[in-house]
Amino acid sequence: MFKDLDPILHSQLRLAVVSILISVKEAEFNFIKERTNATAGNLSVQITKLKEAGYIEVLKQFKENYPQTICKITPAGVKAFESYVNSLQTYLKIKK
């Protein structure tokens, strides 16, 4: 039933991260962690997977001597999210 759904996005935490990034311009790692209630380790792994898929950009920098990770959705990520939502809507319509 979900064979058309993008496996990268069809996972709770990765979908949560992309949903947050689609609605803001950019967000810090801690902001995403707080909003998703994820552990830092798990979030870090999923962010790396999204980055490797080319769906998000990750910028590492220093803010007042502390490392800071900023995440931003890429045009490929926006496209993937749109087609994920479209497939989901089609599936839900068929089911009805």
């Binding site: 979900f2 996972s11 939502v85 599936y91």
Partner: protein
């Protein structure tokens, strides 16, 4: 959050809740509306008192507006500090910031151009028209009605200037910022405190 596969309905719910959660904190604390509201209010009232109470000419009293440069320096420091603390940048936040940057640049340019063409009588109504633009647009973007009405109020007072003597136009400026910036500024502060409590 568990790392597992889930149903289509759950998936849509998750998307919706995350989008809401990313934007649930109201980001506008009203600080800059209050800063500029009070600065312009104090400058216009002071200039009015100097002209009507001490019978000084406008070319002797315009110096009170130099106070705005102090406010501008404070604002730059404030924004720099705020940006350092920011965990998230939203599209609406950026658009509102650019609306006010455009307002700042056009206001300085218009004041200079009108001054250099000896059109000082036009300064107050033109300023009121220009105050209305970012106030109205910010109200639309933030979906905050007091700012929308504030913008309309500035434009109305710009028209009223045609029937009011130059000195008294300063009182219209003070009234405009009281209604368009100071009152909404306090309301925004209250809303911000409630949403971030």
């Amino acid at each position: 959050m568990e790392e597992e596969k889930f149903s289509g309905e759950e998936s849509l719910q998750l998307i919706q809740s995350m989008i809401n959660r990313a934007q649930d904190k109201f980001a506008e604390n009203g600080h800059l509306y209050l800063l500029w509201g009070w600065v312009v209010f104090i400058c216009s009232i002071t200039q009015f008192l100097l002209q009507r109470g001490f019978h000084l000419a406008p070319d002797q009293t315009w110096y009170v507006w130099l106070f705005t440069w102090v406010a501008l320096i404070y604002q730059l420091i404030y924004i720099r500090r705020k940006r350092k603390k920011m965990e998230v940048r939203t599209y609406t936040g950026d658009i509102v910031a650019y609306v006010w940057i455009v307002f700042g640049i056009t206001t300085i340019l218009m004041a200079y151009i009108l001054g250099s063409h000896q059109q000082s009588l036009l300064v107050n109504p033109v300023l009121l028209v220009s105050y209305g633009i970012p106030t109205f647009l910010s109200g639309i973007i933030l979906r905050f009605k007091p700012l929308i009405w504030g913008g309309v109020f500035c434009w109305t007072l710009a028209l009223v200037c045609s029937w009011v003597m130059n000195d008294f136009q300063l009182l219209l400026i003070a009234t405009a910022v009281l209604v368009a910036w100071i009152v909404p500024g306090y309301q925004l502060r209250k809303k911000y405190k409630l949403s971030n409590a």
